[in-house]
Symmetry: none
Subunit: 155 residues, 2 copies
DNA sequence: ACAATGCCCTTGGGATACCATGGGGAAATA
DNA sequence: TATTTCCCCATGGTATCCCAAGGGCATTGT
C-alpha cells in the first residue's frame, strides 16, 4: 500500500481552509476516502490524520481489551471523543476546527508530515523543533545500538 | 457501521432543549431511530445515549448472567430503572429531564462526546476534567507498554 | 541551451445549503 | 384552566460547493 511520505507547509486562507498536499490526497483518493479521520495526538502538539483504516487500527487495538475494563474505556473515550471526521472539499481542502487549532497552535500555516500509514498536521515552528529533538534521539539510539553490538574489548 | 465521533458543546435554551449534534443525528436517522435510549452512567457524571441497539447490548450482557442471581437483578434494575427514552423533536433537539440534570450537573451547556457505538452527555467542565484524566492515564499506559517491550539493559 | 507551452497544484472568493438557536402557538396533560 | 410538551417557522452564522486565477515545474520545440 502506498505510504504517506515527505512533508510540506501550506497556507491557511481567511476562511480557515488548507489544501492537503496533492501526494497525500492521491493516496486517499485511490482508497476512495472522501474524508479524513483526525485524532488529537496525546503526547505531541499535532494531529494524526488518515483514512478509515487508521480508525480501524485503533479500534483493533481496543478490541484486544475486555470492554468492561477501564483501559478499554479510556481508549474508546480518546479514540472516539478526541477525533473527528474532516470533510475534504472538491479542491482537496479541509476546514480547520477550533479544537484542532487549540491543540496544535496552528494559525496561518500547517506543516503536513508523512508518517507512512498516516500523516500529521503541525504548527510549522513546533514541527521544526520536534524534528530536531527526534533527530537527536535517533543519533543517541544509533550510538546505543553500536555499543550493544560491539563487545567492550573491541571498542 | 457509522460511529459516533468527536465532541461538541451545545447550549440549552430557556425551554430546556438542546440540539443533538448533526453528525450524531444523521447516524440515528440512518438507523431510523426517532428517540434516544439514555442511561445514567454508573462511574461517571454523564449520561450514555444511543439507539435501541445500545439497550440491546446491555440486555445481552445481562443475558449472560443467571436470571436467578442478585447480579442479574441489580443489572436489570439499573439498565431498565436508570434509563429513559428521550424523544427527538423535528429539529433534532431533546428536552433534558430533571433526573438527567441532577445526575450530570448540566445546567446551560451540554458537551456531547462520541464513543463509537454510543455517545455521552456531560456538563462541559466535568467533561474537560475527565478528558484530561483519561489522557493522562493513556500516557501512563503507553509508558508501561514501552517499558515492557524494552528490556532493562537497553534503556 | 533556452524559451515557450501546458499542466498541476495551491489559493481566492461568491453563492448556497446546512445547522444551532430562538420563539410562537397548538395540543396534550394535570 | 394552568402548565408542559410538541410542532412549526424564522434567523444568523458557519461550512460547503463551485468556479476562477496565479505560480511553479516539467515537457516540448526551436
Amino acid at each position: 500500500m502506498e505510504r504517506f511520505l515527505s512533508n510540506a507547509i501550506n497556507n491557511v486562507d481567511k476562511k480557515g481552509r488548507v489544501s492537503i498536499p496533492a501526494s497525500f490526497r492521491s493516496i486517499l483518493e485511490a482508497r476512495r476516502e472522501f474524508r479524513l479521520y483526525t485524532l488529537l495526538s496525546i503526547d505531541m502538539f499535532c494531529v494524526d490524520a488518515g483514512g478509515t483504516d487508521l480508525l480501524e487500527t485503533y479500534e483493533k487495538r481496543m478490541g484486544e481489551l475486555d470492554p468492561l475494563t477501564s483501559d478499554y474505556d479510556d481508549l474508546s473515550f480518546y479514540y472516539h471523543g478526541d477525533s473527528a471526521w474532516m470533510k475534504i472539499d472538491g479542491d482537496g481542502r479541509i476546514g480547520l476546527s477550533e479544537a484542532l487549532r487549540e491543540h496544535t497552535g496552528i494559525t496561518d500555516k500547517v506543516a503536513f508530515v508523512g508518517r507512512g500509514t498516516f500523516f500529521q498536521m503541525w504548527q510549522p515552528e513546533r514541527f521544526a523543533a520536534y524534528r530536531n529533538e527526534a533527530r537527536a534521539r535517533i543519533r543517541a539510539m544509533k550510538q546505543r545500538l553500536a555499543e550493544q553490538i560491539l563487545p567492550q574489548e573491541v571498542r
